[in-house]
């Protein structure tokens, strides 16, 4: 049961967990830590997790948030799971491109496309 302070919205569809951010700005370190902890709990809750993180509504993202995404990615891989990112607007995508993280993560235009890409 999500708490009222939750920084993410979670939807489960079959074997896929879909996550969206509550906040438009993923900048504050304390919030990022909370987001990381919440998503880690989702990852740990199922074997071989399939997770889509949607960036719809996200307007600003810091390097600390990127670090947390990497940590989440490693955690998912450690559980033989798969991670996809979706709905990344062009300004945010540029941050991924500058840091070359667009090569590390599988990024899709929409959550539907991301879900279809799971093996």
């Amino acid at each position: 049961m999500p708490s009222p302070d939750s920084r993410i919205r979670v939807k489960r569809l079959d074997s896929v967990t879909q996550v969206e951010f509550v906040d438009r700005n993923i900048l504050d370190e304390a919030n990022i830590q909370m987001i990381g902890d919440e998503i880690a709990a989702l990852v740990d809750a199922v074997p071989s997790p399939k997770l889509v993180i949607s960036f719809a509504n996200v307007e600003h993202l810091s390097s600390a948030a990127l670090g947390t995404l990497i940590t989440i990615n490693n955690r998912i891989r450690g559980r033989s799971g798969q991670l996809r990112l979706s709905h990344i607007d062009p300004q945010i995508y540029e941050v991924f491109a500058i840091t070359r993280l667009n090569k590390l993560f599988q990024i899709h235009e929409t959550t539907d496309e991301a879900v279809k890409s799971f093996s």
């Binding site: 370190e29 304390a30 307007e59 390097s63 840091t99 070359r100 090569k103």
Partner: protein, 145 residues
């Protein structure tokens, strides 16, 4: 805080404590000046991210042994240029010692991307000799005709 506002430029000097509201207020102050001079959305994104990264680095690294000490933020915004200086009271560091986070061997590191992003988005970003003061400049992109 000191600030001046004229027809041609906004300037401000702030002492920013490591508190979310104070950091947000400092950001908002700068964004208000950028909006006053009608900088485009892409510029607001670039400058806002760069300021956030610079201040995060100042608190996290510069003030790691100085909890409770504010970071100094100065900025000047005019119609064509933005100059931002973030200074901490720490011992400084050598920016050349920061590993390139885009190299294959570093791509999965959890941190170390702040300076890369600042340099990508700002027109210039230079540390002083000691490495505790970062001066960033931003030149407004040419206006579309």
């Amino acid at each position: 805080m000191t600030s001046e506002r004229s027809d041609t430029a906004d300037t401000a000097t702030l002492a920013v404590p490591n508190e979310p509201k104070a950091i947000d207020d400092a950001q908002a102050r700068l964004v208000a000046s950028l909006e006053r001079f009608e900088y485009p959305k892409a510029s607001l994104f670039a400058i806002r991210l760069s300021l956030h990264e610079a201040m995060s680095n100042a608190f996290l690294h510069g003030h790691r042994n100085l909890p409770g000490v504010p970071v100094s933020l100065e900025f000047e915004v005019d119609p064509d240029h933005v100059v931002i200086t973030v200074q901490d009271q720490g011992e400084g560091f050598d920016p050349a010692s920061v590993p390139d986070p885009t190299l294959d061997e570093n791509i999965e590191r959890g941190c170390g991307r702040g300076l890369l992003l600042i340099r990508a988005y700002m027109t210039s970003a230079e540390y002083n000799r000691k490495g505790n003061s970062l001066r960033m400049t931003y030149a407004r992109p040419p206006r579309a005709r």
